[in-house]
Symmetry: C3
Subunit: 210 residues, 3 copies
């Protein structure tokens, strides 16, 4: 299988939208943690930026790509803007429940996009799968560590699992030769569905019991 | 605006002194956390190194520069020396109050230097501003996470804000075409002044209140 | 002293075995923390991967080498396999005492290997020494931070010290011109012995006492 960085212009455009969308959703989730911790406005911005771009930053460092937000102003401005908006409108006007669903969409989008970007840089399939999971989850994990909250990892909520489903499906379907936009669509929808079911029905993985 | 890596030899020399100075101050602040936590001498060295070089390391990885302490021995030796000295002279002989002021100077110096280095590597203005803040604050944040202390982020003390003032002013003045040594001087003094006022008068940003 | 990346084919082969061995041992130690925290199976895999490859990843990013697990599938599969095995056989069947000794061997192997790899990339001696310590300890530190446990750094158990002995001895002996396999053998045995004595006799460094 050969994947060029811009295998499909349509896919690239779609993924770019996914990317912005996920950055906004994650930035807001960082700002909401800042509001719960009653931080000042700098804390809002810092947590929003770290959560919004953390996962993709780690991915780019690991695969040897230029870090995606370093050579343009837009990504950071969007994250900082999302932080200020959250700070202004106050937590009471943002429905945490709605955000949970947007976050699920961001998670699936980032996991799929992360795996696709890794493959396009010639990363082997298993590490590419891990890159998808990292892209989707690392921002939230860094946010929780910085805020001193128990991290996503500690909660058995099918969060990491949903990211793994999107990322794994995309890598698998791409290896099978499926066209990339179709593989990406299937992968993103599958991860979103699993996460959505976990939110709606309270599904979780069994905790370890020795 | 075009910035070459060595736009001004005088600026480069001045910034090199800033750099060593800030590394020493931050290394001592890491060793003091180790003394408060009653670590052994290895813990002193580890926290001193991480705090002294952490912010600049993250900056260099993100902008794609070779990490500044990897190809020479001096930087690490200075940090390790600062740790051993702190360990030997005991905390009682280091006035925490004096260190607070040195730390303020290190903060302003690193924030200015970080933004300047990022611009000289062709980073866009908004990310260059963030790099300045990162260079100044990330070492202390990593120190706090490793030591299990509530991080700078959680305290509304105009710490990150002072770094943002220095970094933002430098980027803004450089974009306006000011000569770099003058822009750097103004930026560093402004950040130091703001942080100094926060120390002297207990200023802080209002915490979030929904 | 000139070190080519493959100064000695035998050394390279030996170090490769060290590498796989240490990754497995550290991955199991990550999975054991997951079992103590009663995480789900995704948490097992995540902590195993982070602990198994974390230190070497940081080293490679810092010295500017391609990250060692990104272009092959084997390393991650081994870590994930170790996590699943630990999850299946249950903690009761893994003797923590035995693991402590394997971990000591992994520590000495990784510290020696990390310093050797850094020197082979032209890193200066003091940073190369730090890279050895980082390779051996950073995975465990990240594991403890993610799991919310007090990190190795906080315990005066001659853990970091044993890594520093292996790494420092290797760099020193290599600088003195000793053949690398011999330097590596001496360094690894010395670190393992020190760590072993600490385990067997409960040795530790004195905590700071002001």
């Amino acid at each position: 299988m050969l994947l060029t960085p811009y295998d499909s212009v349509n896919l690239a455009r779609l993924l770019y939208l996914f990317d912005i969308f996920a950055a906004v959703v994650f930035a807001v989730s960082g700002a909401l943690v800042a509001s719960r911790k009653r931080l000042d406005v700098m804390g809002f911005m810092w947590l929003a930026v770290v959560t919004g771009v953390g996962g993709g930053t780690l991915r780019d460092l690991l695969i040897g790509a230029p870090v995606f937000w370093v050579h343009k102003n837009a990504t950071l401005l969007i994250c900082i803007g999302a932080a200020l908006l959250t700070w202004l409108v106050s937590r009471r006007f943002i429905a945490e429940r709605a955000l949970l669903w947007f976050d699920a969409a961001g998670l699936a989008a980032y996991a799929t996009y992360g795996a696709a970007k890794a493959l396009s840089f010639g990363v082997a399939p298993v590490p590419a799968f891990v890159m998808g999971v990292l892209t989707a989850c690392a921002g939230g994990i860094i946010r929780d560590v910085l805020a001193g909250e128990p991290s996503i990892l500690m909660r058995p909520e099918l969060y990491v699992t949903a990211a793994a489903l999107s990322s794994g499906l995309f890598v698998g379907l791409a290896l099978l030769g499926l066209s990339l936009p179709i593989a990406g669509g299937i992968a993103a929808i599958a991860g979103f569905t699993l996460r959505g079911l976990a939110i709606a029905r309270g599904w979780s993985l069994p905790a370890y019991n020795d």
